[in-house]
Amino acid sequence: MATQQHIVSSYDEELEHLNKTIMQMGGIAESQLDRAIQSILKRDSAMAQEVVEGDHKVDELEHEVANFTVRLLALRQPMAVDLRNIIAALKISSDIERIADYASNVAKRAIALSQFPEVNLVQTVPRMGRQVQQMFKNILDAYAQRDAEKARRVWKSDEEVDEMYTSIFRELLTYMMEDPRSITVCTHLVFMAKNLERVGDHVTNIAENIHFFVHGKPMPENRPKFEESYYKVMKQAEQDAFPENAKKAKKKAKKAPRKKPAKE
């Protein structure tokens, strides 16, 4: 990675401004995510409301990054690592903005949840949230340090988050089937878990952008997506609900060979 200064020092100052703005965005989004999760645990609607109202700050910074990127591209004709830096910053700002949106969505649902009596099941989602929070913090560090290896490790850890989501999903389905009075709470929780899972996905996007920024080529591996287990869970849940269909499904499965998903 280039560590030398540009001959024209104002160019370095502008790149630094860009990177600082990304870190600022990341910091605010981290704090939003943290407080959204806290508001679930503490059943604190006021905190959740602050998170919802604070989302605009991240949106504004995204516009600032977009405008500044256009300016840099027009006025500096960046090459090589500078070009990759600027493009990566543009894409990463977009991912951070979505992460902040998801934090805001989680906060909105926390407000809804707090209207219902406290339920143990609610603990599973914040646990997943903490995992995702840690991933996000690590990826921001990786960007600041231009550490593609760290980014790759964060990228891999999304597997766990996907597994957590699948397991929460299954658990909530079972709960809902056993006790229909819990459907409202469980549905909110499903959405929250989905939002957090999407945060994890955006973090992996950031990881891929960091990798491209540092190495100049895309990551060699495909992001792990546990589609198989996802559909398995859906199928299982359906079979539990409608046992007569389960028999038919079993017969069909025995006849046709299982399709394996394409791998590169």
Partner: protein, 284 residues
């Protein structure tokens, strides 16, 4: 900085075109830089050929203004109007008003030689005098009578070379010929030479055309530093350079000022089709 006083325009015998007051007080209040030079209704003819038509342009203090446009559009002609270098071209006729700090520079009472010290010029091909590095820089202050002692002259030479970012490279060979330096160094010597006579404005006519990318980058960094103390107008056929270096950009085409505005805006969303066509490379 010691300044010799310019011969003030005699306000009791005004020219036909009166210079407009600059309203600099209002500009400062609005957070804009004051106007250093202004051209109003400038038309330039070479014989019967009209090279420039009705050019109205404000150059703001301590900013870099870039003039871009295809070959033959009149940008160098315009630049030469600003320090009356067109006077040296016999068939060239300049009409309209050109003012420096509100004073008409074409007034008959103006001392043209002194004007060209206040408004310095750097050319495309570096043209150091066939003298030593020291004498190249010392010549101007000496003939303008700006310094009275040897020590003061030494001081001026050292300061100018420092400001031009050249001193470290030539400190030990001040008495070698200026023409023995590399292209980039020669150009910086020419800049030092221009600075030595305390200009307020520096005109640069494609100063980096003859230089390699590293030397060009060094000059661009120098321009960034110089604009804190001087007003700079640069003609360049590289619009990328204009984008990197300037705060305001003027696009000339066929002798007309097509568009003039903040560099960032001109290069991201130009108002005129012709500007867009030129900067995107859709016509030459």
């Amino acid at each position: 900085m010691s300044k010799q006083e310019a011969k003030i325009v005699d306000m009791q015998t005004p020219r036909v075109n009166i210079a407009m007051p600059e309203n600099n007080g209002q500009a400062r209040a609005a957070g804009k830089r004051p106007v250093k030079m202004r051209t109003a209704g400038v038309n330039v003819f070479y014989g019967n050929n009209q090279a420039l038509t009705e050019i109205d342009l404000d150059i703001r203090e301590n900013e870099v203004t870039a003039l871009i446009g295809p070959s033959g559009c009149g940008k160098s002609t315009y630049l030469r109007c600003l320090n009356r270098m067109n006077d040296t071209i016999e068939e060239c006729r300049v009409e309209g008003t050109v003012t420096l700090d509100g004073e008409d520079i074409y007034d008959r009472a103006v001392d043209v030689v002194h004007l060209r010290a206040r408004i310095g010029m750097v050319f495309q091909k570096p043209n150091p005098f066939p003298k030593s590095i020291y004498d190249n820089v010392a010549y101007g202050p000496q003939i303008h009578g700006l310094v009275s002692s040897r020590d003061a002259l030494d001081e001026v030479v050292m300061t100018s070379l420092t400001k031009a970012g050249l001193l470290d490279e030539v400190r030990n060979r001040m008495h070698e010929l200026g023409t023995g330096l590399s292209g980039g160094q020669q150009q910086r010597l020419c800049i030092a030479r221009a600075i030595a006579v305390n200009p307020e404005v520096i005109l640069m006519d494609e100063p980096c055309s003859a230089l390699d990318p590293i030397a060009t980058a060094r000059i661009e960094e120098l321009i960034d530093e110089l604009r804190e103390n001087y007003t700079i107008i640069i003609v360049t056929h590289s619009m990328q350079q204009a984008a990197r270096v300037s705060q305001r950009t003027a696009f000339f085409h066929l002798g007309i000022l097509v568009e003039f505005g903040d560099t960032e805006r001109v290069f991201t969303s130009p108002r005129d089709e012709r500007t867009q066509g030129y900067i995107t490379g859709r016509f030459g």
